[in-house]
């Protein structure tokens, strides 16, 4: 088959945070498939068909893209951040596994990108400087008891924790519940970082303590990073402190 499918990471928002390889994949595409705000980031040009959809049923979108590729088209499926981190790549491969046998022979590539936690960390300093986890708080595809069991495990093991999908209109209480669990395990002065819309015009950053964190507003565009015991603040006059996680971990008491 002559068609191809590239799953492309658009990074956190600013076009300068795309890789050159991702840019080339977009330039080569005949069809762009994705959630509409991501499709909107790909400039219109003659010969490019843009297929924008809403945020639901990723696997239907993936199937549509694979059908286009199987028909001989050069297709790009676009995701914010990195497509392999809580984004479209897993849905594409799920559709491949469950779909037509010859879809496995398609030229399918993934173009990595700067995922939200890396963009947020870069703006803050180096909060992911030690061992860290990426945990989605969404219980759409994962039972809530699994979320809390995983959260407790990594809280106790002193990982820095990047919380993806912290909150949405349909999931209003999960972030509060997660912070409550964290408060039972980590010290009240533990830094908690709220990084919203990094690299976009409405970017906003807030560094709080775990004790204050319940009162900090967050939305779907917010990445929440829970510091570890080794996460430190460097105060600066008139500016947000730098945040970093020390590389050295002491012998347990």
């Amino acid at each position: 088959m002559s068609g191809s499918l590239a799953v492309v990471g658009l990074g956190p928002g600013d076009a300068a945070l795309l890789t050159e390889s991702a840019r080339r994949a977009l330039d080569a595409a005949e069809d762009v498939v994705g959630y509409f705000p991501y499709v909107a980031r790909v400039p219109e040009r003659p010969g490019l068909v843009r297929h924008a959809s809403d945020n639901r049923v990723e696997v239907d979108r993936a199937r549509h893209a694979l059908q286009l590729a199987a028909s001989g088209r050069r297709v790009a499926v676009v995701s914010g951040g990195d497509p392999g981190v809580f984004a479209m790549a897993a849905a594409v491969f799920e559709a491949v596994e469950q779909g037509e046998p010859d879809w496995r022979d398609l030229a399918i590539t993934v173009e990595p990108g700067v995922t939200a936690m890396l963009a947020a960390a870069a703006r803050l300093g180096a909060p992911l400087g030690g061992d860290f986890c990426a945990l989605s708080l969404s219980d759409n595809l994962k039972p809530w008891p699994v979320v809390t069991a995983r959260l407790e495990a990594v809280l106790r093991a002193d990982f820095v924790i990047a919380l993806y999908n912290p909150i949405s209109a349909a999931r209003p209480w999960q972030l509060g519940a997660a912070l409550e669990i964290a408060s039972g395990i980590r010290a009240p002065h533990t830094p908690v970082m709220f990084a919203r819309a990094i690299s976009r015009p409405d970017e906003a950053i807030r560094v709080a303590t775990l004790a204050e964190a319940r009162d900090v507003p967050a939305d779907m565009a917010t990445m929440v990073i829970l510091g570890a015991s080794t996460t430190r603040l460097i105060p600066r006059a008139g500016r947000t402190p730098f945040v970093y996680t020390a590389r050295k971990v002491e012998e347990p008491a």
Copy 2:
């Protein structure tokens, strides 16, 4: 102070995997500071001073870069992958915290990049499609019992696990010990991915089972990813299988 310091992520190797923003930071630099193979990736040009060092004492390198910036130079500190993930950014902020008070007023920025686990995952399919952790197996700055306690916690909580710094001449046994611990907790058929030198001329990928993993060679340039219970293979005729982690997690039994 007029100097500046950018901590720049060079990505996994291929120059096309840099962001445009990282490229601009390199183009603007008067001094490049870093481990010599990373400095070598920055093309020579008139007016650019390259300060290459060996792989030790990151904080000395960071201090040197900060001194240059404080003297008014535009400095880039380069790291492979993303500078915030087991790389130079944490060392730079450690040096800021412990250094001259006016270093805090310098224009210090971090340019994120494609870290090794994202590059490896993109090549394999979507193995990081669920919750995942990044854990360094190096016990240079962290006691080995902390490494094993963290590893056991995330193995039991069914995270996908990206192992950074799995092995080196000075640390020859840690990867084997980690795989032994994993074998006691995860099923023998669990996929384990070895992704070496991704995007570089000597790139090599191997997908094994946990039962086979002890016999797969690895080195400093290898990223090892331990699959979760939901990590699946999609066989392909004559090619490495696609690997992805299903987004859906079932209710615990």
